[in-house]
Each structure stands twice: as C-alpha cells, then as structure tokens.
C-alpha cells in the first residue's frame, strides 16, 4: 500500500504542474452544471481542446481515439492537480459525453459512429446529453414510454414521440443518447432500442425545469414526430436495455464525491461562530467536535475508497462494488452538514446567501442539492438494492412486471 507517488508518478505530476502553470485558462466557470452561460461553455470547450492537444483529455483512452494511452493513476494525478487550481468544474459539461455516452458508443456503436463521434467529443467540440429518464420512468428506467415507430414511407427511418426529463445540459448539447420503446408488445426490458440523436433535429423542444432549489439546471425534452435514420441506431433493435446498462454502469463509476462545501469549510465556519450559550467558538463545542470527527472519517473514507477503485481499475479489475458506496454516503452527508451549518448560524441561518462560492451560500445550496443527489443517478434505495443484490448476492425484488407485455403493466404517472 502506497499513498504517495512512485518516482514515475511524481515525475508525471511535476510535468502536469508545469504544464498547468503555463496553460491555466483565464476564463473560468463559476456556475453549477446545466446553468452555464455561453461564455462559460466556450471557455470549457477551449480548455478541453488545449488539454486534448497536450494529451491530458481522456488520458486513459487509447491513442487511436485521441487519448494519451495513460494509466488510471495518471488520470487521477491530472484531476487532482486541476482540482488544486480550482479547475475541477471545467470539464463537467463533458461528463455526460465522455463519462457515459461516448463510452457507450465505443462499446456498442458501429465503426462509423465511433469514427464520427469519439474524437470530437474528446476534444470538447461536441457536447452530449443522456436521454433516458421519463416522468414515469425514474428509478425504473426500463419503463420508458417514449415511442419510436418505423416511418411508413419505406425509408427505414424512425419517428419518435414522447418526453424525457432530468436531462442536464440538453439546452446546449449537440448530441444525445436516446432510449426509446420500439415494441410495447413484449416485456419491458425487451422492447427498447437505443439511438443517437442530433439535438438540433426538428421536433425537439427543450424546456428548463424550475427546481426546488430555485435554479433550472435540468430540462424536459419533448419529442414530436422527430425523425431519425436507422443508421443512428446504437445496437440492435430490442437490445436497448443492454446498451443502456453500459451507460448506467459508467454513470455510477463517474458519480462524484459530494456536493459543495464539506467538513473543512464547516470547520472554518465553526471557528468563527460563537459557541453554545456564547462561550468560545462552535469549534470548541464538544457537540460539534464529535460530529466533525465523524464527518472527517466518512469523507476521508469515501475519498480513499474511490482511490481503491482506481487501484482496482489500474490493475485491470472491475471495481463496481466500491463505486456504489460513494453517492449513498456523500449525498446524505451533504444534507447533514448543511443542516448543521444552518443550525449553528442560529436565526441567521435562514438569511439567503446567493453566492454559492461562499461557505454559507455553499451550505445553503447543499441543503437543497443534498436532497437532489439522493435521487439523481439512482436513489438511495436503488443503490442499496444494487449493493445487496450484485455485491452481496441477495435475492432481487419480486417483480410482477417482468414477463408481462409492456402495454399490459399496471402503472400510473
């Protein structure tokens, strides 16, 4: 076990640092994902291209796809160094594409698609979004109802009608990975098909969702008679669920480590707030200290667990098991820390601080976004089921809908 860089790793890190020093972008992103303005997106694209030229975009991808053919550890080192300079969010608009959609194309798409999409995505030229969730298919993605029927003009094209939801970045995405139902007459997992879609296609209407936290970072996407070619199909007809599983597995691997400020920021806040009944600071209060210790342990445990996953990856093993842990713990911790911060601010905690980059503003955002994180990308309950079933081998839930034709399943919105 070695938690320090090996000589080669140290050398790589030094190279990264020196490159970052001379190439740091002047324009940054200061808003959350989905809420970026066009200037932020331009900055992100420019930075991604610069990284690609230097071999720091998609470090681990093979050179034939524009990657650097590097090790997972090198990738981590680059991310750590980016993070140190506050560049951690410069790549988030590409997360859907590079973390989920394009890997799916690489795994399940045809050669033409790979040639067409991989490099532009890697260079930040094209932004992708993921079109899976629907109003009545949240945790149960395979219950998607958006329909694709073959055009009756003999073209082999597909006509798509329906609605997707919770699509981050849809309003500025170039391309989307779209899960649709092509056959409602067979059981639900068997009637799905995957397509890629040009987001500028006629008939696509992207509407922002006004969220509980106040902002609008996600979208609803409506499809009205949207025509796609059969060549846009990713994988076989009726095999869409298997393709989606590739995406979802990549999603869980790329789900990050918590939202906004964490224990160090709370510790800093506590050091400047008066303690219980006015004595000393909150940081000197035993009640706070006890919780701080537990939060530190959980946060560090998560960080180290992610590093263990990376070690497994770098040894060619499939991590998977550890990857499910992250969000279960960090989403809830985001809620808990935010609540504690507000409690310790006492009456003042209710005063809205709109600067999400400040400590207090960050915790207030976290108060809402913790709730969102416990839902997005698999609810707490779904993730625990995954751990119980895939890691521990416990029985799956009793399914009443598995062998029934999709159209006959009892359901409501």
């Amino acid at each position: 076990m070695d938690f320090k860089d090996s000589p080669e790793e140290a050398e790589y890190r030094a190279r990264v640092r020196s490159w970052l020093k001379t190439n740091t972008p002047t324009s940054r992103i200061n808003r959350t994902i989905g809420d970026e303005d066009s200037q932020s997106i331009a900055a992100a694209k420019a930075w991604q291209a610069k990284k690609a030229d230097a071999g720091y975009a998609c470090t681990t991808w093979p050179k034939e796809w524009g990657g650097a053919g590097g090790t997972p550890t090198e990738s981590i080192i680059f991310e750590e160094e980016e993070e140190r300079l506050g560049l951690g969010n410069m790549a988030t608009v590409f997360t859907m594409g590079l973390g989920m959609c394009v890997p799916t194309i690489m795994a399940a798409g045809n050669e033409a698609d790979k040639k067409r999409f991989v490099v532009p995505a890697m260079r930040g030229e094209e932004i992708w979004c993921q079109l899976f969730s629907e109003p009545s298919a949240g945790s149960d993605v395979a219950a998607s109802r958006t329909r694709a029927v073959e055009a009756d003009d003999g073209s082999g094209d597909w006509i798509i009608n329906g609605q997707k939801v919770w699509t981050s970045c849809a309003h500025y995405s170039d391309l989307g990975l779209l899960l649709v139902r092509t056959d409602p007459g067979v059981p639900k997992h068997k009637g799905l098909t995957m397509f890629w879609i040009d987001m500028k296609s006629s008939g696509i209407d992207v509407r922002p969702i006004h969220q509980a936290a106040g902002s609008s970072d996600f979208n609803e996407v409506f499809f009205t008679d949207v025509r796609v070619k059969d060549s846009q199909r990713v994988g076989e007809i009726g095999r869409g669920w298997n393709v989606a599983l590739v995406t979802l597995m990549n999603e869980r691997l790329s789900v990050g480590g918590g939202f906004g400020p964490n224990w160090p920021e709370l510790m800093e806040l506590a050091s400047r707030l008066p303690g219980v009944e006015g004595k000393g600071s909150v940081l000197q209060d035993g009640g706070f200290r006890e919780k701080l210790a537990n939060w530190y342990v959980a946060a560090e445990g998560l960080k180290l667990t992610r590093l263990r996953s990376q070690t497994a990856l770098s040894r060619g093993q499939t991590p998977g098991s550890e990857a499910s842990i992250g969000k279960v713990v960090s989403a809830r911790q985001t809620q808990v820390l935010a609540t504690e911060a507000l409690d310790r601010l006492d009456q003042y905690g209710i005063v809205a601080n709109d600067d999400a980059t400040s400590i207090i503003g960050g915790f207030q955002q976290g108060f809402f976004w913790g709730a969102a994180m416990r839902i997005a990308g698999g609810t707490d309950e779904i993730l625990k089921n995954i751990i119980a079933e895939r890691v521990l081998g416990l029985p799956p839930e009793i399914r009443l809908d598995r062998d029934v034709a999709f159209k006959d399943i009892s359901r409501k919105i």
Partner: protein, 371 residues
C-alpha cells in the same frame, strides 16, 4: 390526567381545517412564494383575525376571544399543515404572548385589541449577526428612551407595526416595545430560505421605545418568551410534519416503479413508519408543552425545549423524506415538497437552532438533578 384535546377543541380544530382547506389552498402560499413584492396573504390574514384566531389566547377584556392556549395550539397545528403565508407566528405566538405575559396593563390595553382585530402585526427582533447571540452581547442600545442598532433577520420585520426589540440600556439587557411606523425605523426586506414568509434587516435610529417588563430583566424575559413561543411553534411543526407524511404516503400509493406502487417496497414503508414515529413523539411532547403553557407550569422550560427539539426533528425529517419519496418530481418547483422543506427550516431557525435549545434543556435537567 387527560392527554388529548377535549371534544370542544377537536371540533374547533376540525372547523379550522375546513376553513383553511377552503381559504388557504397551496395557491395562497405559492402566491407569496412566487411574488417578491407580496409579503403575506392579506386576505387570509384578515379572515383569520375575523375568525378570532389572532385573539384566541387574548382575554375578552382586551378584545380577544379568550379561548385559551390549548385552543391556540390546535389552530397552530392547522396553520402549520397548510404552510400558511401570514405573520401569525410573529404576531400571535411571540409578540402577543410577550405582551400578555410581561406587558403593563397600559401596554396590554394599547396593543392586544389591535392584535385581536388583525390591525397590529408584531415581531421580535433579537438576532444581530451569524450565530447564537446572548442578550448581554447585543450591540443594540437604548439611551434616554431612544433605541439604536441593527437587527437581522427579523421575521416579519418589514411588515410589522410593532416590534419587541432586545437591547441593552444602563440596567443591562432589556426588552423594548417599538412603534415601527417611526421614521427612525429603516427596514429592508431580505431574501430567506423560505420566501413564503417575510423577513427584514431593520435599523433603528434613535427610535422612541418603551420598556417591557422590569429593567435589566431582558435575559429572563426573553427566555420565557422563547419558551412560550416554542410550544406554539411545535404545533405548527407537528402540523407540517403530519401533512408531509400524508403527502408522502399518498404519493407512495400512486407512483409505480417496477410494476408496483412504491409504497409496497419495504424501504418506503419503513421510511414512512419512521416519519410516523417521529411525528407521534413530537405530538406527545407538544401536548405536554401545551399543558405547561396553558397552566403556567414550572415545568415549562424543559417542556418547551423538548417540544421544540422534537418538533424541529420531526418536521425537518418529514420534509426531507417527503421530498425524497417523491423522487425527481419532489425536486421540482411545481411540486410542494420544497415548500415544507423551506418552512421546516424557517420554523426550526426562527427561535434559534437546536444546539442552543439542547443546551437550554440540559441546563434545566441539571437544575432538577440532585447532583
């Protein structure tokens, strides 16, 4: 011994629910939420006053209906259920209670009838900065009957006609009644986590004021005022928490995932059972608080602290898990889950956060212990 509402109180509560279902639908709360310039629902405030609710605990001789505190608790529970967008808590639970308990007869006569009629909106101004602040640390000062200083946040401070302000004078910490219509009062509406309730930063510049209660007794008075209000807040919290449980339960019976309603999954069933348990414990503590409040019992400090801690836990928890049960829909602006999340925090912080209340409670327990 009798640990429930009486039949008359139950009837009052039922009528109140009917009234609020008709007159305070969620669109009322949302009209305040979505309109920055609307501080509260004026029409509802008027109607509530006409029903005699603002004067429920005010004796008839001062214009109230003299129903009593337990009756007020029952109303609070119903107001909490519907996330009522009116300055009821500031005016009735805090301001009126303080005047009732500590006002001179002249002050009672001057102010209580206006509360009962709905003409007076009251507030309490104590906070000056981030974190717990003790009366002896406050920088607001009263010199020769004139108050100066800044208070933030002051719930309903932007709409109040009167305020009770914690400040120090030569005798030490004190409470002072201020007519907010004075030109030395500079108020600035501020944004809070709960836009369905109004709040302000209030600056007092040499504003005439009148002492409430005895000189130098500000800390003790404030403590009692917080205790009394905490009980009434707890009923709003219990009402809100119960509503969250009902909403979550009915959504869980409607929403399908994997071919079954999500309420048939044990994780959801047990989560909702956990909410039920917390709510019932909070209800029991609130009842005890109501008894202590209505009888001026010596047990009020610990009863109030327990009611507040249990009520805050319950509403926070119910609001969070109600949103979670609603899944992605719960995180949209259009679905009401976030309104409870916001109000839960508003109620949980307006009288100070839990760390402070836990310490108050343990001090009460230490007083009784023979150690």
């Amino acid at each position: 011994m009798n640990f429930d509402y009486s039949d008359d109180q139950k009837f009052l509560k039922k009528e109140a629910r009917k009234f609020l279902e008709a007159r305070c639908p969620i669109t009322s709360t949302r009209s305040v939420l979505d309109n920055d310039s609307k501080a509260f629902d004026h029409k509802l405030w008027r109607e509530v006053a006409e029903m005699g609710w603002t004067g429920a605990a005010i004796p008839e001789k001062w214009g109230g209906t003299g129903l009593g505190h337990v009756e007020l608790c029952a109303l609070a529970e119903e107001l909490g259920r519907v996330i009522a967008p009116i300055p009821f808590a500031s005016t009735v639970y805090v301001f009126a209670e303080a005047i009732l308990a500590f006002g001179s007869d002249a002050q009672r006569e001057a102010l209580l009838p206006g509360i009962a009629s709905g003409d007076v909106i009251g507030c309490l101004a104590t906070s000056e900065r981030e974190g717990v602040i003790l009366p002896e640390e406050m920088s607001a000062r009263v010199v020769t009957g004139k108050l100066s200083g800044v208070k933030i946040p002051v719930t309903d401070g932007d709409i109040a006609t009167y305020a009770i302000v914690a400040a120090q004078d030569e005798a030490g910490p004190g409470l002072f009644v201020v007519d907010m219509i004075d030109e030395g009062v500079v108020r600035e509406t501020i944004k809070t986590l709960d836009p369905t309730r109004s709040a302000a930063r209030v600056e007092f510049k040499d504003v005439p004021c009148e002492r409430l209660g005895a000189a130098g007794e500000g800390a003790a008075l404030l403590s009692n005022i917080f205790d009394r209000a905490a009980v009434l807040f707890a009923f709003e919290q219990v009402g809100g928490a119960d509503r969250c449980l009902e909403d979550a339960t009915s959504y869980a019976m409607e929403r399908y995932a994997f071919g079954r309603v999500i309420g048939s999954y044990q994780a959801i069933k047990h989560k909702l059972a956990d909410i039920y348990v917390q709510n019932e414990l909070a209800r029991s503590s609130a009842y005890y608080g109501a008894w202590a409040l209505s009888t001026d019992a010596v047990e009020l400090p610990e009863a109030a602290s327990a009611a507040r801690i249990a009520g805050t836990h319950a509403y926070d928890f119910a609001a969070k898990e109600n949103l979670h049960t609603h899944g992605g829909m719960g995180f949209t602006w259009e679905v009401d889950c976030h309104l409870h999340l916001r109000r839960a925090r508003q109620l949980g912080l307006a009288l100070g956060g839990l760390p402070h209340w836990r310490e108050r409670l343990v001090r009460s327990l230490e007083r009784y212990s023979t150690l």
